[in-house]
Symmetry: C2
Subunit: 324 residues, 2 copies
Amino acid sequence: MLILPDLNRLRVFYHIFAEQSLVAASKTLNITPSAVSQHLKKLESEIGTALFIRQHKRLVPTPEAEKLLAIIKPFFHDLEVGLRAINQSRETPAGRLRVGAPLVFGKTYFPGMFASFRIMYPQVTFVLKLGDPAVLLGMLGDGLLDFALVDIFLSQRQFSADLRMYRMEPVVDEELILACSRNYYEHVLGGDCSFASLVSREFISYYSNDLALKSWFGDHFGKSSARLNIVMTVDNVDAVLSGIEHGLGMGIIPSHLVHDAMQKGSIVPVTTTSTEIINRISLVQLKGKQPSLTEKTFLSFYKKMMQQDAVVEKFSRIVDNEKV
Amino acid sequence: MLILPDLNRLRVFYHIFAEQSLVAASKTLNITPSAVSQHLKKLESEIGTALFIRQHKRLVPTPEAEKLLAIIKPFFHDLEVGLRAINQSRETPAGRLRVGAPLVFGKTYFPGMFASFRIMYPQVTFVLKLGDPAVLLGMLGDGLLDFALVDIFLSQRQFSADLRMYRMEPVVDEELILACSRNYYEHVLGGDCSFASLVSREFISYYSNDLALKSWFGDHFGKSSARLNIVMTVDNVDAVLSGIEHGLGMGIIPSHLVHDAMQKGSIVPVTTTSTEIINRISLVQLKGKQPSLTEKTFLSFYKKMMQQDAVVEKFSRIVDNEKV
DNA sequence: TTCAGAGAGTAAGTTTTGCTAATCCTTCCG
DNA sequence: CGGAAGGATTAGCAAAACTTACTCTCTGAA
């Protein structure tokens, strides 16, 4: 393998070439001509080629020098521009923000949020990764995400990852309800929301876990059935919702998603004397990493937006972060 | 202006990123992990951004690190390839050879010469600059040509350049003759080649100098006329030749160019008892520059070819370079 | 649980290097 | 001619870069 020369000498060479003079280069580099001369000499011996023909008082670049310059000149330019961009993003939000979120929550709220944010900061672009908490936390740990929103509740036991490396901050508490269609409620349940009535009916579950259903029963009745009649299993809230609407059975749904449908009466929540269970969505960041300006700006924007969102406000509880 | 970081640290960073480990990087760099750690720390402080999140035993690159890598990775690749190419051209001829030559001489002999050479060394490409000695020497001095063939005779007084900076080596002696068409010779001159006969006739001259004609008269009669009847002035040997063929008058022509025409008898040389004047074509190189392998290989090829060239052999004298 | 191993970071000491100052050489130019 | 100006060289010193030795923390095996 070829040994690369001392890269700092390349910068010296660059200036010698640009100025076609050792003395001139020494002035822009703020060193003595002697030092420049030594740099050039060593660089030439390192790459084994004369770079300039010493012509009395003049330096005439060789073809090799021109070739070398053609390589390093764009690099210096790119490097300077790139570093400038990196530095600038400390003054004004810019660059790419990589966000992780649960599937439904993410696809419901983030695209519009991104659009609003980009009106104020058009230099910011987004990468939205929707997925399971386990996946998102893994990506966060690998530096592939800047931050993630994760619903710890639904899948607390799914990942064995070490939670110590993350900084968690509750953001919103999503209310999870068991719901069915009006028709199902009236004609199948007959309005009977007792444990005995419910366990014999049809349910729609999530593929990745059936903890949601079990948790709901645990929360509302202090017990669950070992064997619920699960008529559809799918890992997509839209599909669950559609199943509910078509009278397939009952399913666990974040209440804020069916706000309008419940107002109209087409979807009915199954209620007991207990309060509804809460799916706590937390903002997760890597402990060692201090957030960039872009990240901090977006997050404060995000929290402000969430507080103004009517649906979220009514059907979920925004956690007061100031007290955490 | 932004101050660029120490470039050698970028190489260290590159390896840290590539290996995602200080220890691994330290092994490929043949320094201790401690040194690598110090490099990274200083680089981060220089560019003002954390490049890795320290994760227990793991290093997780930040977005800034990825951005930086995107800049320097192609550079290192280009640099290595470029340096390899430069080094390789020391083992086998390759690259671009920039050749200067007098217009006629160059366009007559070089294209074919280049083609032959490229059969053996297809990696060599050529730039042929045709022009006046003054121009060629200037370009040579500016490093824009690798070497040049120059006819010093015709324009010795035209350039005030310092000849000390050049290394000159006679290559061929071109015989310059005064010629006219057979028709002109028989019906205008009537075969009379005396001084009195000639000075009253028509001549074709070169724009850039009329030294050629003056020299011819000086060489053949020891004197010249202050006022020759120059009926056409043009800086193109083909045009001069055409003028001669059309009976415009007499002109100075390299004898090897009209070899065939003289054999046929369509063009006739004006001869006296004196020998013809010689236009010495010399290979000129910059004194300080030692020729590359490509250059040396081509030049030895060139000299060999010239010796085999029948026309050149007959009508010009190849200078024996071994004795120079 | 304990203990060895591995990776990263830190401090201090040593070696290497890069830089300057002084000098020389050559060319350029008034 | 002689001073100015550019480049090369050398010696010596100051500033790095590197190493050694040690700490801290986590990991994985016993």
